[in-house]
Amino acid sequence: MTSTRHQEQPSGAPKRERGPLAKLDDGAKNPVSLAQLFWVFFRIGLFTLGGGLAMATVMRHELVLRRRWIEDAEFMAQMSTATVVPGAIAVNMAYLQGRRLRGRAGAAAAILGTVLPSFCVILLLAWIGLPYFKHPRVAAFLKGCVVAVAGQLAFAGFTFGKRLLCDGRNIVVCLAGLTVVGVLPVHPVWAILVAGGLGYWICRGDTPSDRLDDRG
């Protein structure tokens, strides 16, 4: 719709993304091969410890920063869809990305890529690896990795927060979500529902992600 998307950025918006991400690798212009999709999601599956939300950091690195298949704002919009829909977040993200870039076959390739590393690693471990798993050196190495994952999770929060918490109303919504998930004894998905409803009610709804949808 608008050809001057960049000028609409509020002055408070992070400027960093503008330069390197100005040119997007759009699926239509520069098709990504199925093998490439499989390979990228295989890497994401292999390089993630700690489950779906920690995976956001690895996924953002591979898809947004490194390959520029998708912009930051749209990545976050897809993350929210992937979280609300049932199933593992990583698998949902693989479906959404694969389908966006190469249709159903792309979705299948991306999901296969995400699942295969865990499947193989777990099989190997269950088959022959369990005794090694408890070896003190291995345990120390794994403990270091697991602790570092906490930093990775915090980084995912940092990148999301930097973009979303630019408005007082958004901060209120975020605090409401935190209250629901942290204080109330209900399923965490309620945090998303409450934040969604409250956001609908009080937010202006013109974050950069909206402008991305105007791309047409």
Binding site: G50, I122, A126, L142, A150, Q152, F155, G157
Partner: protein, 175 residues
């Protein structure tokens, strides 16, 4: 054969009911596998959780593969893994066309922004709950802080896995 069918049903249910990320899914898996089906005892479940967190990939997938293998070998592992993925594919397959059509609407966009902030709340809470679980002493805190700082400083130049593996190497020396 019967076991494989039951595995499929159980993990399809887990896949369908799992929202909000792997750490949230663990109690759900425990409820189905330990309490309902009596397939594993609590100690085995704890082992699966530890393994799922320390091996690559989504926790639900790891748990499905491991439980399936325990109960019905490689076939069981494959069936349980497929079952846990299937609900995602079906729901998204039905939903994606709708979302694409509705995505332009102002209402959907406002709702979507709220949901994004909700995801942020979940991530922030995951930092807290996960951190509380794995950070026990000062060296742990320092290591987690250093990993965060490196990720912020070298955002696009450093692959996150490098930071994680470096954490492992530090762990070898310190722990």
């Amino acid at each position: 054969m019967q076991m494989v069918t039951r595995l499929f049903v159980s993990f399809a249910l887990i896949g369908l009911a799992a929202y909000g990320g792997g750490l949230v899914t663990i109690p759900l898996i425990q409820h189905e596998i330990v309490d309902n089906r009596n397939w594993l005892n609590l100690a085995e479940m704890a082992q699966i959780v530890a393994i799922a967190q320390m091996t690559p990939g989504p926790i639900a997938i790891n748990a499905a593969t491991f439980t399936g293998f325990r109960l019905a070998g490689v076939v069981g592992a494959a069936v349980a893994t497929l079952a846990v993925v299937l609900p995602s594919i079906s729901v998204l397959g039905l939903l994606t066309p709708l979302l694409e059509r509705a995505g332009q609407s102002r209402h959907v966009q406002k709702l979507r922004q709220g949901i994004q902030i909700g995801v942020l709340s979940l991530i922030l809470f995951a930092v807290w709950s996960y951190g509380r679980g794995v950070i026990a002493a000062w060296p742990d805190m320092l290591l987690a802080g250093a990993s965060f700082l490196f990720l912020v400083l070298f955002e696009a130049r450093l692959h996150p896995i490098v930071v994680i593996l470096a954490g492992g190497v530090v762990g070898l020396v310190v722990f």
